[in-house]
C-alpha cells in the first residue's frame, strides 16, 4: 500500500536552464541545467552560462498539516489544502487525524485516501490516531490502518496522558511498522494556559503554559521509546528544555526525531503583546532562549524537520478576544519565505540547511521517498526567487483560511514554481 495519495496527473517535460541548483542530499550548490522528461529527471548537466538568479531545489515535505477534512471543509479541504501546499513549494504533505470524525478506523482512512486520489493536487499522506476518537483510552487498530496506508500514528492536538498507554502504543506500533508521533503536553501543568509562562504572561495576566509542561512529557516519552527501542517522533517542539532532553536521548542512542515550526523559529512570546489571535497556537510562542535553542537544534540536526502545523480556522473563530480564540495558525504558503527572511538572509541558517530540513529531513522521519535532483529520480522540484519581495495579505492565500501570523508582513524570497510527482502543480 502506498503512503501518499493524489490525483494521477500528467507527467511533464521541462528544462531548467542555467539555474543555481541547491540539493543538500547531494551536497550540490552550483549552476546546472536540469531536464525533466515525462516527470522524471533525465539529465543534470553543467550550465552553459552563469546562473539566472533563481534557485532550483528538491521540493518540500510538510510532516504536519491540518486539512480539516472530514468535518470542517469550510476551513480547508483536500483540494484547497494541497493547492496551498503546492504554492508553498511542497511535493508531499502529511495530514493530522484530529478531524471530525477522527481518523481512527480503516473506513475513515479509506474514504480520505479515495478522496485524495480524486482531489489532491499534490500527494498527501494521512496519520491515524493512536487512540480511538483520540480519547486517550483504547488503541486504534494500527496494523489494519497501516495496511490501508496510514503514514504513522498520533493523537496530535492532545497528549496521550497515561504513561501505560503510550508504552503500549510504542510496543504495538512495531507490528504496524509505522512510527508514533507525540504532542507533548502535561495537561495539569499547561492547565488551560494560552501563553508561554514567563514575563509576558505575568504582565498580560494570562494563565501560563510553562515550557516544562512540554519537556516533562518529552522526557517521559523518550524514556519509554528508549526502553521499548521504538522510533518516536516529537511534534512541534517549542521549549529549550525539550531540546536538551532530545539531545541527551539521541546521544544515548534512542531513535527519536523531532520537528519545529516556522513560527517557533521566528517569533517569541513578545509577539503576544499585540493580543492578535493569529499569534495564538499550541504549543505557545516561547521565550527568546527557547527560540535560540530551537535554531541551534535545527542547525546541528538534533531537530531534523520543519513542520508548518498548518492549522486553518474560520474567520469568525479568530475574530474574537485573544483568550477565546482557538489555537493554530496557517503556514503552508509562507513557510519558506518566512524562514528565508528571518533566518537565512540575516545569516543565521545556511540556505542548504533550511532546504534540507524542509525536504529530506521530514521525508526520512516517515520513510517517504527523499526528493533529490539526480538522473532517474521522480521530479519533485521547487524553484525559488530569492530576490522577490512580497506582502502577505488576506488575498495571498489559496488556503480557505487566512489566519496567518504573517498578515501585513513583507517577506523576502518566494516560491515561483513547484513540481510534485513529475507534474507542475504551481507556477507563479
Amino acid at each position: 500500500m502506498p503512503m501518499l495519495f493524489g490525483k494521477n496527473g500528467r507527467r511533464d517535460s521541462l528544462v531548467f536552464e542555467d539555474i543555481r541548483v541547491v540539493d543538500p542530499t547531494r551536497g550540490i550548490d552550483e549552476a546546472l541545467t536540469v531536464t525533466v522528461e515525462q516527470g522524471v529527471i533525465a539529465s543534470v548537466e553543467p550550465a552553459s552560462a552563469p546562473a539566472n538568479g533563481k534557485v532550483l531545489a528538491p521540493a518540500f515535505v510538510d510532516p504536519h498539516v491540518h486539512l480539516r477534512t472530514p468535518g470542517r471543509e469550510d476551513e480547508e479541504d483536500l483540494a484547497s489544502g494541497t493547492r496551498a501546499a503546492a504554492a508553498g513549494g511542497y511535493c508531499a504533505i502529511l495530514a493530522m487525524p484530529n478531524t471530525d470524525p477522527v481518523v481512527d478506523s480503516a473506513s475513515v482512512l479509506g474514504a480520505l485516501t479515495e478522496a485524495a486520489a480524486r482531489e489532491a493536487e499534490i500527494p498527501v499522506g494521512f496519520l491515524a490516531a493512536i487512540t480511538k476518537g483520540q480519547g486517550g483510552a483504547e488503541l486504534t487498530e494500527m496494523v489494519e490502518l497501516a495496511e490501508r496506508g496510514a503514514a504513522g500514528f498520533t493523537d496530535d492536538g492532545r497528549p496521550v496522558v497515561a504513561p501505560g498507554l503510550i508504552r503500549r502504543a510504542l510496543q504495538y506500533s512495531a507490528a504496524a511498522g509505522r512510527p508514533v508521533a507525540v504532542h507533548c503536553e502535561e495537561p495539569t501543568l499547561s492547565h488551560g494556559g494560552h501563553v508561554h509562562e514567563g514575563l509576558v504572561s505575568a504582565e498580560l495576566g494570562f494563565g501560563g503554559y510553562p515550557s516544562v509542561a512540554e519537556s516533562v512529557m518529552v522526557a517521559r516519552d523518550l524514556a519509554l521509546a528508549g526502553y521499548e527501542e521504538r522510533p518516536l517522533h516529537l511534534l512541534h517542539l517549542s521549549a529549550h528544555e525539550s531540546v536538551e532532553e532530545l539531545r541527551r536521548a539521541r546521544a544515548a542512542g534512542i531513535p527519536a526525531t523531532a520537528e519545529v515550526t516556522p513560527h517557533h523559529l521566528c517569533l517569541t512570546d513578545d509577539a503576544v503583546r499585540s493580543l492578535d489571535p493569529n499569534v495564538k497556537m499550541n504549543p505557545p510562542l516561547r521565550a527568546s532562549e527557547d527560540r535560540a535553542a530551537l535554531i541551534d537544534a535545527l542547525l546541528d540536526g538534533t531537530v531534523e524537520a520543519i513542520a508548518t502545523d498548518h492549522a486553518p480556522h474560520a474567520r469568525e473563530e479568530k475574530e474574537v478576544p485573544f483568550e477565546e480564540a482557538p489555537f493554530g495558525v496557517t503556514g503552508l504558503e509562507t513557510a519558506f519565505s518566512a524562514l528565508y527572511t528571518q533566518l537565512v538572509e540575516p545569516g543565521v541558517v545556511p540556505l542548504a540547511t533550511l532546504l534540507e530540513r524542509m525536504s529530506a529531513g521530514p521525508a526520512r522521519i516517515y520513510g517517504l521517498d527523499v526528493p533529490t535532483i539526480q538522473v532517474g529520480a521522480e521530479a519533485n522540484l521547487v524553484m525559488l526567487d530569492l530576490d522577490a519581495v512580497w506582502h502577505v495579505d488576506e488575498g495571498s492565500f489559496r488556503s480557505k483560511s487566512a489566519n496567518s501570523w504573517l498578515l501585513g508582513s513583507k517577506l523576502h524570497g518566494r516560491v515561483v514554481q513547484t513540481v510534485a510527482a513529475g507534474k507542475v502543480v504551481y507556477a507563479a
Partner: protein
C-alpha cells in the same frame, strides 16, 4: 415654500478627532499622559463642588457602556461620569441583550457602531476584548476590565487617591497583598505606580504571585510582615472560586486568612489601606481595617467618578494614547 436643503449625513455626525485613541492598558501611557489625566481629574473634582454638577463639555457625544461581566462601581461611575459631562449614555449588559441569543462580540460591536458612538467602554471576561472593540468599532475604546489583563481606570483612580491623600506618588512605597496572579487591578496598578516612581512590593502566597512578575519593576515577598515597611497597603480581593477544593492555590481560606489576611495587628499606625472592592471582610481584610480611618476605600470610589470624567474628556479632546501593536514586519 421654503427651500429645504437635504441634510447630509456627514453633518449629522459629531466632529471626528483625527486619530482614534483608546485606553486599553496602562502600558500604553506615558508619565505625561498620567499627569495630564490627574490634573484633569482635579479640575473636574472642583467642578463637582458646585451646586449644578453637570458640565456641557461632551454635549452631543455618545458613550456606550458594554458590560459583559457584572460590575457595580465601575459601570455606575462610568455612567455618571458621562452624564456629568452631558454626553448621551447607553448601557448594555450581556444578560437580556442579543449576547444571550449567541451574538458574537464582533457583531455586537458592529451593531453598536451603527449608532456612531464616540466612546465604547467595555468590560469583558476575556483578555483582548477591548482590542477587538478597537478593531471593529469606529469609537474610542476604554477598557473597563478585560479578564485578568488590565483595568486601567482603576489604577488611575488609585493614583489620584494617593496623590490627593498623600500629596504625591513619587517615592511612595506600596505593598500589594493577595492574589496577584488573577488580578487585573494588580497588574494595572504595578505598571501605574512604577511609571509614577513609586516602589511596589507584592506580598502573597507563592502560587498566587506569577513567575517573572518582578520584571515589571516590583519586589516580591511571601511574608506578610513585609507590609510593615510600606506607606500604603493595597489589599486585593480574594476570589472565592480560587479557594475551591482542588484548585490548590492555597490549601484553604482559613490558612490564607491566617497567613496573609490584613489585620490591625499587621499594620503600623498611620499606614493607609486601599482595596478595589468588593471586599471579603474577614478574608483578605479584617473588618476593623476596612472601617478604620486609615482606610481609603470610600475615597477610591469617589475618585472613580472624576477620573473617569477625565478619561472620557481626554479621549475626546487630546493626548497621545494609542494602542501599541507589536509589528512583525521587517524583522532581522
Amino acid at each position: 415654500m421654503a427651500d429645504v436643503r437635504p441634510l447630509l449625513r456627514a453633518e449629522l455626525l459629531p466632529p471626528k478627532s483625527s486619530a482614534r485613541r483608546h485606553l486599553i492598558s496602562i502600558a500604553d501611557l506615558t508619565r505625561e499622559d498620567v499627569e495630564r489625566l490627574l490634573a484633569l481629574s482635579r479640575t473636574f473634582a472642583r467642578s463637582l463642588e458646585r451646586d449644578v454638577k453637570k458640565l456641557p463639555t461632551l454635549r452631543g457625544r455618545t458613550v456606550v457602556n458594554l458590560f459583559f461581566e457584572s460590575s457595580t462601581r465601575t459601570s455606575s461611575s462610568f455612567e455618571l461620569a458621562a452624564k456629568r459631562l452631558s454626553a448621551d449614555v447607553m448601557s448594555i449588559k450581556s444578560s437580556g441583550s442579543a449576547v444571550d441569543k449567541g451574538e458574537s462580540l464582533k457583531d455586537t460591536l458592529l451593531t453598536i457602531g451603527a449608532y456612531d458612538p464616540d466612546v465604547i467602554v467595555i468590560r469583558h471576561a476575556h483578555i483582548g476584548a477591548p482590542n477587538l472593540a478597537a478593531r471593529f468599532s469606529p469609537a474610542h475604546v476604554v477598557n473597563a476590565g478585560d479578564g485578568k489583563h488590565q483595568h486601567p481606570t482603576q489604577a488611575l483612580l488609585d493614583l489620584y487617591t494617593l496623590d490627593e491623600e498623600l500629596g504625591g506618588i513619587e517615592g511612595l512605597h506600596v505593598a500589594i497583598v493577595g492574589d496577584v496572579l488573577h488580578s487585573r487591578v494588580a497588574r494595572s496598578n504595578i505598571q501605574a505606580l512604577v511609571l509614577m516612581g513609586a516602589r511596589v512590593t507584592l506580598v502573597g502566597p507563592p502560587p498566587l504571585i506569577p513567575r517573572g512578575i518582578d520584571a515589571m519593576g516590583c519586589e516580591v515577598s511571601h511574608d506578610i510582615r513585609d507590609i510593615a515597611a510600606a506607606d500604603v497597603v493595597y489589599v486585593l480581593r480574594m476570589q472565592r472560586e480560587r479557594m475551591l477544593e482542588g484548585a490548590n492555590y492555597v490549601p484553604s481560606l482559613r490558612e490564607y486568612t491566617a497567613r496573609w489576611g490584613v489585620t490591625p495587628e499587621r499594620l503600623r499606625p498611620g499606614q493607609k489601606v486601599m482595596h478595589p472592592g468588593p471586599m471579603n471582610r474577614g478574608v483578605e481584610i479584617d473588618a476593623a481595617v476596612a472601617d478604620s480611618p486609615e482606610s481609603l476605600v470610600e475615597r477610591q470610589v469617589r475618585s472613580g467618578l472624576v477620573v473617569r470624567m477625565a478619561v472620557l474628556y481626554d479621549l475626546l479632546t487630546q493626548g497621545p494614547v494609542e494602542i501599541k501593536v507589536a509589528e512583525i514586519e521587517e524583522v532581522a
